[in-house]
Amino acid sequence: VRRLLLLAVLFQARPVQEEELHRLKEQLGTEDAAVRQRAERRLLEIGEPARPILEDLVRNGDVEVSERARQILAGLDREASRGQFLGRPWTVTLEDREVALGDLPSLLKDQIPAPLKIPETVAASRIRIGARSMEAWRFLDQVCGLQGNLTIPLAQPPDALVLKEGSPAGSPVSYSGQYRFSIDRITLESRHPYDTPRTSASMLLGVLWQPNVHPLNNFWMGRHFGFTVSELEGDDGVSLLNPEKEERDAMMLEVSRACGRRGRVVFRCPAPQVRKLQLVRGRLRLVLPAKKEMIEFKGPSLVEGRKAQAGPYTIELRTWKPGPKGVQATLGFWISPRDSENAVRQSRVELGARFQNETIIATARSGKQSSFSVYSSSHRSAGGDLETEEDTGTFDVEGEVESLRIPFVSDVFDVDVPFEFRDVELP
C-alpha cells in the first residue's frame, strides 16, 4: 500500500469517472478477495474524490464493508498529511514558441508554483522552446542548454528554483518525478603510496528536489538518507561495483544544503579500454515527515518536570534556568515503552533528525523569538527497543518567556527514488 501511495504522488492519477467510483463501491463488498483488494488500491489511488463515497460506506455499509472503508479513509488521511511534506511532481506544458527568459516565471507560475528566479542579465534573452508534460527540472535544463550561458546550481534555496549565469555543466542527468539526479564528477586515480600500487574510481552523485519536497535532512540522518548504486557497468559489460556492500552506498556530503545533496560512490577502476559507463543504476533513500506536531510548554519557568506526548515520544522539560544573557533549557526525549513495536519502527531515524530548522522557539513578551541548536546523544536499553535521548541548548531570549514551542516530527515515512544513467563518458 505504501509503494502504491507513493506512486500516486509521483505520477498523476488517472481521471476519475462517477461510474468508476460506484463500481468500486460495489466491489468493496464482493466476496472475491482479489477484486476487493484491487478496488481498495484503486480507491486509495483516486484519493480525495473517493472520500464522499467512503464516508457514506462507513455510515451505511455493513460491518465488514464499513471497516474496509474506514481503513481506506485512514490511508487517505495519512496521505493528506504526507502531502504537506512530499508535494506532487511539477510538469510543464508550453506551446512551441519563442519566449523571453524574463517572461518564463509568469508563464509557468501555475505549473511551477514556486518562485522561478532567472538572472536579470539574461531576462531579455529569447529562446524557442516547447514542452508537453515535461518534468520541471528537465524543462529548466533545456532552458539552460538553449540559452547557452545559464546553469542550475546545486546550491538551491529552500523555497525557490534558481538558475544562474554560467556554462551549462553538461553533466549526465536523470529525472524522476520531483527529483533531478546528476553525475557531477568522475575521478580515476592511480597511486603507489609506499610502493603499493592501487587504482580507484569514484563519482559524485548529486540530487536536487523541488521545494515542495521536505525530507528529513540533517546531520543525524546517517544511513537513512543516501544513494545506493545497484548496477554499474563499463561498456565491456563488466560490473565495476566493489564487492563490499558498504561501498555501493554513497558517502553523503553537504548536509547543510536546502534542496539537494551530493554523495560520493567509490567503484573499481575500469580496464584501460573501457571508455564509457554503459549503465549506472540505483536509488535514493529519503525519509519524510508523516506528522509534525507542535509541542508547547506555557510559562516554562513554572513547569519544570512537565511532560508532553508527541506520537510515541514523551518529551520532558527537565530544567529551565534564566541566565544573565538568556535561558538554558534541558529537554529529555524518549519513546514510550508501552508501544514497543511502534517504538522500534519509529526509532529507525535518530531523534536528532526529527527537529526541523526552526527547532525550538521561545516566545517572549517583548515579541522577540530565538532558536537554538540541539545537541543529541542517544542510548538503547539492553533490550534494544527503548531509545532515550537528551537534548540541550541555550536560548538567547530577551524578556520574560511565555511559552516554549517545539516542532517535532513524530511519524515518518520512506521514499525510494530510482535513478539511471546510460553511456556516461569516462575521463
Binding site: A169, R185, H192, Y194, S200, S202, P324, T394, P427
Partner: protein, 366 residues
Amino acid sequence: MLVPLTVLSLALLGFQEPKERSEPGDPLRPSWKPVTLHVKAASSKVVLEDIFRQAEVRLTVDEEWEPKTVTLDLDAVPFWKAVDDLCRADGGLRFSGSPYEDEKKLVAQPWAELPLSYAGPLRFSVRDLSRVLEMNYPGRKDRTDVEIHLEWLPAFHSVLNEWPKPGVVELRTVRGADGRSLLPEMKVDRDFSRQPNGMSLRDRSAAWILHVQSAGSGSKSIPEISGVWRGIVLSDLEAVTFENPGDASGATRTVGPFRMVLDRCAAKEGRSASIEVIVKISPAEGAASPPAVPAHYRLLQSIEADGESKLPYFNVLKGDSGAPDGRIQFWLDKVPRELRLEFARTAAVVEIPFSFKDVRLPGAIR
C-alpha cells in the same frame, strides 16, 4: 635577560649538508643533535640504539623486527637521515609515517625507497604521487597530486600558523620528464576522499597535497620536485608560572620583550564543568611593535596544570576589530594550584628548501 627579537624572514639555505646547519644564528639548531657513526658489520639494533642515544630521540620499534648486520658511515647527520640510512641498510625496517598511529614508529616492513629530504629536525618525503584523470563537469581536471609529508622531532615546537598545519609548502620547480614545467599548481574542488590540501597531526607531522599539471601517461617519473617550507621556528624558551591562578587575576609576568597577564581562571557562566583560562600577551612597553611573529604564536602548545600537560591546543581570541588581539583561551577540568606556560622569547620566520630527484610515478590509468 632580555633577548632582542632578531631573525625575521630569514631564508636558510644549504640545509642538505649538516655541517652548514651548525652556524650561529641557525634557528633550527637547538632542536636537534647530530649523529656520527662509523660501523662495519654491526648489529642494526645496536646501531639504532646508538642513533637514539646520540640524538636523544627514541622511536617505538616493532617487536617483530629481525635486525641484520649493517655497515654505515655517517658524519654529523640529522636524526632522520641516520634512521633512514640505517633502515635502508637493514632492509627490513622503515619509518611508518602513518598519520593514523599515536606514536612515531619504525615498522618491520621491507624498506621502500621514498624521495626524502632533510633539514635539521625536519624530514620531508613524497609519500605518494597520484595520476588523476577527472571529468569535473563541464571541464577536465587531469593532474598529478603530490603528497609531501613533514615530520619533526619533539624538540621542534610546531606553530600552527596556517591552522591546523604548521606553515606552508610552496613548490618552486616541478619538471616533467619531457623537460616542461608542471607548474603552476592547479586549483581543484574538494575531492571528498582525502583532505584536499593535506592534513596535520599538529604536534607530530603534517602533509600537504599539491595539485600540479598532468605528467602525461608516457612519463615514468618526475625528474625534479623542489620548493620551500615556510614556517615559524621558536627558541629561547622561558617557563612562566602562575600560582593559585584562581585567585591571581591580573597577575603579570614579563618574558623577553612581552608581558603576560593572567586575565581569568574561573568557571564560565553556563559551563560550570569547565574552567576557562584567558591569558593576555602583549609587547612590553618600549618593545619593537608590531613583532614579525605575533605574541600568540610564541606560546607553546604544551600547557601544564599541576605538573600535568592538560591541553595541548588553545584558542586565540579575536578583538573587536576581528584581528587576534593576543588573548589566548583554553579550558581545564578544575582550577589548578599551579599553571605553567612556556613562551618563546625569540621567533623567526624561516624558509627551508627541500628537493627530490626522479620521483617515480605510479602506473598510467589508461
